[in-house]
Symmetry: C2
Subunit: 170 residues, 2 copies
């Protein structure tokens, strides 16, 4: 799928079919994250691939934001090690992952609100590492309504040379 | 360009030809950022499109990390407004932008180390907003050596079910 098309059509998916995500597709998603840029190529990230139903259910109970993880066939946790900008780097690699997932027909959604300490204990994440999120992955249970994705007009958020100067023909 | 191919082949570009980035390409890059996800679709971002040579030179003098901005035909500043996770959201929209830029033959590179207060004054960014970065954009001056992009083996950064458990066939 064309990169702009993946960006344009991708939507958050919170309801999944029970079909497993094939191993080669999981690896392609992980590779997409792995190719992300990072400061001085330090690659300060780890992935935890989770398909165990009990673990998925426990993770769902550890967040106010994503109970639907319990019903996903797969989730991938993102852990940062010695990152100077863990949130920024994580945002970049997660975006790579979800765009490639989408191009393979797989949906996901960012989940926040985790009890980080509980998740780190459950997944055995070393205390000195940063847990970022666990995101569910799977085939969307409903047809994506990407045509309805809404954003502010570009003219409202674009400035030229200085903040507040509008781009006349945008 | 296929989304995985853009992710796989993209490299940091710090040296640009003097050719301007056409307006329609700039707008496509901005739209790619605009389609990024954000918490409850709050879209907490602003873009500042900078082509003025004097402004580019001044920006270059305000960072230890990216003097090459002075020689780029274009730079785009990212500003976050009322974002709960400004770095994470910025990482996601910047990744969208650079992948689409790359698919259009345009290179860029993350620049850190800015004197944020000086940049906010120069660009007129309101004090209560978060300045993230200014990144240069342009046609690469040298052929990209994307074949040489190095990353840790997937087996070193991938765990299954729990941190430390290796994926046998990865």
């Amino acid at each position: 799928m064309d990169v702009y098309q993946s960006i344009r059509t991708r939507v958050a998916v919170r309801s999944f079919t029970p079909d497993p995500v094939p191993g080669p597709v999981i690896k392609k998603i992980l590779r997409a994250g792995r190719w992300a840029p990072s400061r001085r190529n330090t690659q300060p990230w780890h992935f935890i691939v989770i398909r165990d139903r009990d673990t998925l259910a426990q993770l769902a109970s550890m967040t106010s934001g994503g109970p639907y993880i319990a019903n996903a066939p797969l989730a991938i946790a993102i852990v940062m090690e010695n990152a100077r900008m863990p949130q920024f780097d994580a945002g970049r690699l997660i975006e790579n992952m979800l765009l490639v997932a989408w191009s393979e027909g797989i949906g996901t959604c960012f989940v926040g609100g985790f009890d980080h300490e509980k998740v780190k204990e459950l997944l055995g994440i070393p205390q000195d590492m940063d847990f970022v999120t666990v995101m569910p992955y799977g085939y969307p249970a409903e047809a994506a309504k990407s045509g309805g994705k809404r954003r502010k007009p570009l003219s409202d958020i674009t400035h030229v040379e200085r903040f507040g100067e509008k781009w006349a023909d945008i």
